[in-house]
Symmetry: C2
Subunit: 372 residues, 2 copies
């Protein structure tokens, strides 16, 4: 088992945008065709499929793979809100590592609309207590962080400034326009300290990732990117200081570092879950890139810029690339793959050899390490 390094063979995206005239299945098929071309293999070589989608998932995987010329392989719809397609990738990776498949494809797709998480999510006591969904949760973590560590609202806002600067360099990003710190701070208040431009936009899009066994990769690619370690878990409700954690991110990151033999200092490029700007400030702490409480200054001083010490969300992240829930995990894998292959063009991190991914959704968190 340990000799079978799971490999990213191909990745593909459709530009994240708004597509009123296309179905999620249309978008998913386009991303899949791009990934197949990138991998240089035929769809008939794919042995199993996973489909990450949150809304109207029933039959979605069947229809999307059907449009590719489905040859009867199993396709499973995986739902984990914002972390659906990265969880699909982890299931595929586990089955490949265990020797059950050589080639799997994960398609993620979503057309976002208002109130999509209303029926699910924290439909229990949190909503009943008057807390509106995710911006409120991130805002509470941000307020606690400000109280404990003196983090400033400008630190959070800077996350979005940096994200939009990176988005300009990514032709697949929904927003390709820079924002000043003032524009971010002066936009409409959503949940103090989070203003509108510190929230991910409403986005349609799709991603596709083809994973394979190391043996298959040796025969089919000269530029393998290895998925060398991963860990997945579920947020637990915790109290006090540790509630700042979005969930067990630190625990999962530590598992991934141990399994891969890497440390935070080895990571060259990071994709982390910045659905709202505090996500990056908290994330760089939990992933071990700075000490607890230092996330604000760490971001403010430019460490997470493309040419900073620890480049984060080089493609614009959820804030500027966009966040069509089911597609986001696959988009994160796509960016890390392009960075580690040296194919990221104007946003390339020089000499990137190790990538770390953190994707969080209602119901679960995935952390993955990639290496060349």
């Amino acid at each position: 088992m340990s000799d079978n390094r799971v490999t990213v063979l191909g990745v593909g995206l459709v530009r994240f945008s708004r597509y009123p005239d296309k179905s999620a299945e249309d978008l998913g098929r386009e991303a899949a065709l791009a990934a197949l071309e990138d991998a240089g293999i035929d769809f008939k070589d794919v042995e199993a499929g996973f489909y990450g989608r949150v809304e109207r998932a029933v039959g979605g995987g069947m229809r999307t793979f059907g449009e590719l010329g489905q040859h009867g392989i199993p396709v499973t719809n995986v739902e984990l809100a914002c972390a659906s397609s990265s969880r699909g990738a982890l299931l595929a990776a586990g089955l490949i590592r265990g020797g059950l498949y050589d080639v799997c494809m994960v398609i993620g797709a979503e057309k976002m609309g208002r109130g999509m998480l209303g029926g699910g999510g924290e439909a229990g006591y949190q909503t009943q207590m008057g807390m509106f969904l995710l911006p409120g949760l991130y805002a509470m973590m941000a307020q606690r962080h400000m109280h404990l560590y003196g983090t400033k609202k400008e630190h959070f806002a800077q996350v979005s400034v940096k994200a939009h600067r990176n988005g300009v360099l990514n032709p697949y990003a929904q927003y390709q326009k820079e924002l000043t710190l003032e524009e971010v701070l002066d936009s409409r208040m959503i949940a103090d300290p989070i203003t509108l431009y510190q929230c991910c936009p409403t986005t349609d899009g799709a991603s596709a990732v083809i994973l394979c066994s190391e043996k298959y990769a040796r025969e089919h690619t000269t530029r393998p990117v290895y998925l060398t370690a991963w860990a997945a878990g579920t947020p637990m409700y915790v109290s006090g200081e540790s509630a700042l954690a979005e969930g067990p991110t630190k625990v999962l990151a530590d598992k991934v570092y141990e399994a891969s033999g890497l440390g935070p200092e080895d990571v060259d490029v990071v994709q982390l879950h910045d659905a709202f700007s505090p996500g990056e400030v908290l994330g760089v702490e939990e992933l071990g890139f700075c000490r607890p409480g230092e996330g604000g200054p760490f971001v403010w001083e430019g460490n997470t810029e493309i040419h900073g010490k620890k480049p984060v969300n080089t493609d614009g992240g959820l804030l500027s690339r966009g966040h069509p829930m089911g597609a986001t995990g696959g988009a994160m894998i796509t960016e890390i793959t392009r960075q580690l292959r040296g194919e990221a063009g104007p946003r390339q991190v020089n000499g990137a050899r190790v990538g770390l991914l953190h994707n969080a959704g209602i119901g679960g968190i995935n952390v993955m390490a990639f290496q060349v």
Copy 2:
């Protein structure tokens, strides 16, 4: 890998019924506690969870496992309509066989309501062509079967008569009342030849299945039931005679027979997808218990009765036990497990040692072989 036979360690159900005052999470937790008791292990021994649910799945796995005292393990929502929890079980089985986990739990739960598949399913051309959903599909297959083979409407109706007779013997079945052939035939016509009592009812319920590695089973149970082979696939749209198949059931069954070294003649007890009565007539053909076209007489002559040649849906099946979509696959595994352990009480098939499962949903079909 081949030395690691995946084992069913524990199973649990809540009685299938209507539960207006309970949530799906409540039902799922009750089923899970029953499965843990049946397995004789602690929840903290479970390393990964899968949650089969179709409606309002977002956050459902997290909440359901959370109520059990979630200790941070990954929980993945798996959606495959009527085949959700059997697909969850196959993913768990694959990861166990591959050595990634020793113990996984699959919870399936659903509260059924009207129009649940309206937003998904065959939202494409079939619906646009005026075909209402699944009763229409089964009716068309039944009509074709009648045309080709002379199958009679009484043959289909007899499936429901037998199902309800078995349901009386199952305290977990929604309906525990016999129906005469005349009652079935005279109930309201839904889609000719399918009358109301040949359609699965509207049901709430939950199931839980604990799967483990052979090594773990050796240390924790004296009555292992082995999941020795499985195959999963996706229906393809096919034309002509083969359209009678619900999908690739025959292909999948042949794979399972080959992988397990078993033949149809070795199967002692069967769970198959009788969402509508033609499901059993077609299913016994596709699974190889009789020749194509002979399914009607095969059922009519009593071969699928509990003490017949090939007992099918001994627990009442979807027609009488009920069909809460996300829970059905786990309920099928539960019945086969109880039969192979000799714990099926008044509906016990004498000396049952091999069970075959067929669970079909919009998006996929699962076939599994169990042995003691």
